[in-house]
Symmetry: C2
Subunit: 199 residues, 2 copies
């Protein structure tokens, strides 16, 4: 329907996740009217990311060098590894400023329905990191959904022989949320995991 | 929070309309894992659009040459002009295959709240096109909302002296919709505009 290059842009934008045909059209018209310098910056950011970003050879996190910033940081405790599904989960945990250990990014979760099995994740690399016995705790921070729970259960079984402390993040009510809006599974988990208050 | 170039990309994506911080992050990680050739195509489409696309010197529609495809097409009736707000409205009308005339793209609608007055729209250019008397009908196809109606009313008054047929698109129930879900204004318009059936 559009002149050639506009349609090309709409097609390319429509391939991005969460961008439907209407949004692609809207973004394309925004681009048409935007400052050329702004568009050049976006195009440059896209190609730079492909040129410069790779994945950390140790933990699988996003990195601009062979190792990511966390793995390069000598102040980060190498005896505790937090296992997450994706690099964006690393960012979420870093934001809490609660965790001072290292990470291991699996690259997804076990999901038979999507054809993702244990061999498709960076589990072999995780076991290799545990081999020298310097790791004492493994925090399984996969998502609290079906796939994440299955992955955590699988990993807990796999590392059983290493004799380390294996933990899972607590499930419960979100802080700042309303009890009445919590789904029954979350509320059930909150009851299960209730803590004694020091009074 | 992210390594430099990843954050740069998230920032640039977050400036696009309808792309919030979460979507920007999601798209950025998609880009990270995408084929380099796909990303190159997207970056190329962005720069190509800025390099090649301009606005038709006659009607203001998107064009790759001095005139858009509709204005270049000798089979399109130059005596009927359909006035729309944006180039994407041209595409919407073209999709109906009902209209064989030409267009005039205003570049928006009159909206005092957004500081858009008649002088910010391509109204002077429209009046210039009507000056030689070859146009016989002006179809006002601005949006059926407050701004679009105000713009249509303003234009109808402005072109009153040209002695041409000025029409507005019909308002009424959307085809395929449910009467019970129509808002009262639309339903009211549908009553006002009811047609006699030939039986």
């Amino acid at each position: 329907m559009y002149e050639g290059v506009v349609q090309d842009l709409i097609d390319e934008l429509g391939r991005l996740p969460g961008v439907g045909p209407k949004s692609a059209q809207r973004i394309a018209f925004h681009i048409l009217q935007a400052e050329p310098a702004d568009v050049r910056r976006l195009a440059h950011a896209l190609t730079e990311v492909k040129a410069k970003v790779r994945f950390c050879e140790v933990c699988g996190n996003v990195a601009e060098e062979e190792r990511c910033r966390v793995c390069q940081d000598p102040r980060r405790d190498p005896s505790v590894i937090c296992v997450v599904e994706e690099p964006k989960d690393v960012v979420a945990v870093e934001r809490t400023r609660e965790f001072r250990g290292r990470y291991h990014v699996l690259g997804g979760a076990i999901s038979p329905i999507d054809g993702v099995g244990p061999d498709d994740l960076r589990i072999r690399e995780l076991l290799a990191r545990l081999a020298d016995g310097s790791v004492t705790e493994l925090i399984l921070a996969t998502d609290p959904n079906l796939e994440g729970e299955a992955t955590a259960t699988y990993l807990a079984r796999m590392v059983g022989s290493f004799g380390l402390r294996v933990t899972r993040l607590a499930s419960g009510l979100p802080v700042g949320g309303d009890l009445e809006y919590a789904d029954e599974v979350t509320l059930g988990r909150a009851f299960e995991g209730r803590r004694l208050l020091d009074v």
